[in-house]
């Protein structure tokens, strides 16, 4: 997994609530057997029309907004458990998603793929959307070590929460799987007791 520490970049606003994983990556693209290439079909049905032409008013097709940070409406990532949604976002180039609420499984999947989900409150989310309307190229500073999001141009500064274990994993690029494998003895011990 790629390490995450700090970034200073612009963002893309997706002002839609309840964006479900079927929108992030429609089911018909789940037939692959590897993790690559899903970015091309990210938000496919909103991004392209029936003839595969870009739909100009969808935000990813609007050159005004660029950057590896996605700002999304409430309850982002609801629906299916498909990790392909997280792969599609990272493959497209996103490193951070900011929303006022994330669905559980999506959040876990994001963290397992080095994609940082940052939860802000509804008011802060609106402030961010407003700031981006005023200045589409406004820069964000995201610092995982210090757990802060800043938009220097509007003096916006917030702290965000993240589980200490997950933070360590992201900063060091560790996967849960290594941790679990290193605990095999404990697991076997548990099995022995359980079956006793």
């Amino acid at each position: 997994m790629e390490k995450f520490t700090r970034l200073q970049q612009t963002a893309i606003p997706l002002e839609i609530e309840n964006v479900d994983t079927d929108q992030i990556i429609p089911a018909r693209f789940l037939k692959a057997t590897d993790r690559k290439g899903f970015g091309d079909n990210l938000f496919c049905d909103w991004r392209y029309d029936n003839n595969n032409n870009p739909i100009s008013d969808f935000i990813l097709n609007d050159p005004t907004y660029t950057g590896p940070i996605l700002i999304a409406g409430n309850n982002f990532g609801c629906g299916s458990s498909r990790e392909h949604a997280a792969w599609a976002l990272t493959d497209y180039g996103f490193k951070v998603v900011i929303s006022s609420f994330f669905a559980d499984i999506f959040k876990g999947n994001a963290l397992n793929n080095g994609l940082l989900p940052i939860q802000v409150n509804e008011e802060q989310l609106q402030t961010i959307f407003e700031a981006m309307k005023e200045n589409p190229k406004c820069e964000f500073i995201i610092d995982l070590e210090q757990q802060i999001v800043e938009i220097p141009s509007i003096d916006f500064h917030i702290d965000f929460e993240i589980n200490t274990y997950k933070k360590t994993c992201l900063i060091n690029g560790y996967d849960d799987i290594d941790y679990l494998i290193n605990n095999k003895n404990k697991i076997e011990e548990f099995e022995r007791k359980k079956n006793a």
Binding site: F101, N112, I187
Partner: protein
């Protein structure tokens, strides 16, 4: 303080606790299917590690499979490859696979319970969000991402933080024509699609106590649609009777021992939940959805509410509805009865009871997709097949089918489909398709009438 059903099962599966971090949770049963497993097997290959407990894994092919001519090679190349990859991986890692052609094949959440694999007090996972279905037996069952599938392969464990607990109590007696699907659609409409996030739900009260196992599965199945990781119902005599005699159920003697343990699982009287909701069975009627998330549901007779919210407006525009519309009487051309929510034998009994001696409306395309080979067989053995065929319904072979339209079973763009599945997301049943979620009874009635009707009205 007493413990909840959820606490009891969770706590007995904690291998270790990380300080200010997640628990290492032991997983009893791991179900896999073709779509979310290949990349997990690839992780094992990359790291050169074996599957830790292959005997605790069961595989099936369901999401991608065609529902016609399953004996022939799958036409779609990508689907064919994915299903073939599953077989190859299962062979290589010694995992039991109920693939196409096997008498146990079917939707992963239908076959687990019907084979007796799902049992009270277990922890179960699958790379699929509707794993919550298995909670109907009083097990902790939840969906996971592919990285986690790899973790369970490697260690039979997961790193997860313990969710909070919620209890939803529904007391009273359901009106005639009101089904478990209506109950869960009602609950989600009342609470909203993100109300359960961070929680594990226990469904309690007379309505669930009096419900069949199939009904309980329908309810638990849709827990994820309110954001909850899973739902559970306390195991009772109905549960034990259902399990008894199934393929992988404990033998008679063992079962008696197990039942003693299972009887200790229900929440203690003094257990405290982080959140509680109560509803009255009397308030619940046949439900349908009008929008593009399962929380956008109303009674068949009710009007679509109004809201200035942009996402709400966008959703109505996609569905072609207006605020204040009622859907009672809306003409529809497609009906789908299937999916892990409603494709068990009980669902088809309800459906066939209604349509016996009737015919589907000419304009309607009505698809019946059993949840498993065993259900398909039961449909024929009980004579339901003839009833469906005489009424003009098309019976297909088992799989997820039009629930997510990964195979050829797609609803055309712009068309309404009354569907017994669990998600009405944009494009879920095919690009542009408009899904209206409903119970099997409301769905067959729509097929016969060619429009949405209130089944409780004469």
């Amino acid at each position: 303080m007493g413990k909840t059903l959820f606490d009891k099962v969770w706590d007995s599966h904690v291998v270790d606790q990380l300080e200010d971090g997640p628990d290492i949770l032991y997983i009893d049963k791991h179900l896999i299917h073709e779509v979310t497993s290949p990349q997990a097997f690839a992780v094992l290959k990359d790291k050169n590690i074996p599957v830790f407990r292959p005997k605790q894994i069961v595989a099936t092919a369901d999401h991608n499979v065609p529902t016609l001519n399953q004996h022939l090679p799958i036409k779609d190349e990508l689907s064919r490859n994915q299903v073939a990859r599953l077989r190859k991986n299962c062979d290589e890692y010694n995992i039991e696979l109920y693939g196409l052609g096997h008498p146990y094949q079917g939707i992963v959440h239908v076959i687990g319970p019907e084979l007796g694999i799902t049992q009270p007090g277990m922890t179960m996972v699958c790379g699929d969000s509707h794993t919550s279905t298995h909670g109907a037996f009083g097990s902790i069952a939840f969906g996971i991402g592919t990285s986690q599938v790899a973790q369970v392969f490697a260690s039979q464990c997961l790193l997860v933080s313990k969710p909070k607990s919620m209890r939803i109590t529904v007391n009273g007696k359901l009106k005639k024509g009101v089904h478990p699907k209506d109950v869960i659609l009602y609950i989600i409409a009342q609470l909203g699609t993100d109300s359960g996030t961070g929680y594990f739900v226990e469904y309690a009260g007379e309505v669930f106590e009096n419900m069949s196992m199939e009904g309980r599965m329908t309810v638990c199945n849709m827990s994820i649609e309110m954001g909850a990781r899973g739902g559970m119902i306390a195991p009772d005599q109905t549960t034990f009777d259902y399990i008894k005699g199934r393929e992988f159920a404990p033998s008679q003697e063992e079962l008696e021992e197990k039942i003693k343990h299972w009887q200790s699982l229900p929440s203690d009287n003094d257990a405290v939940f982080d959140k509680e909701y109560r509803f009255d069975a009397d308030d619940i009627g046949p439900m349908i959805t009008y929008g593009t998330n399962p929380g956008m549901g109303i009674g068949v007779q009710e009007k679509i509410p109004s809201s200035q919210n942009e996402s709400f407006q966008k959703s109505l525009a996609y569905m072609g509805f207006d605020q204040g519309d009622t859907l009672n009487g809306l003409p529809i051309n497609y009906v789908f009865i299937g999916s892990c929510t409603n494709s068990r034998i009980e669902d088809f009994r309800v459906a066939s009871d209604y349509i016996k001696g009737k015919k589907k409306a000419k304009n309607v395309n009505a698809l019946i997709v059993p949840g498993s080979q065993q259900v398909a067989k039961q449909i024929q053995d009980e004579g339901l097949g003839t009833i469906f065929e005489e009424a003009g319904f098309e019976i297909r072979q088992p799989g997820c089918s039009a629930c997510l339209a990964m195979n050829d079973d797609k609803i055309p763009s712009g068309e309404y489909c009354v569907s017994t599945s669990n998600r009405n997301f944009e494009g879920r049943q095919g690009p542009g398709a408009r899904t209206i979620l409903a119970s099997p009874l409301t769905a067959v009635a729509a097929a016969v009438e060619g429009k949405i009707v209130d089944i409780t009205q004469p």
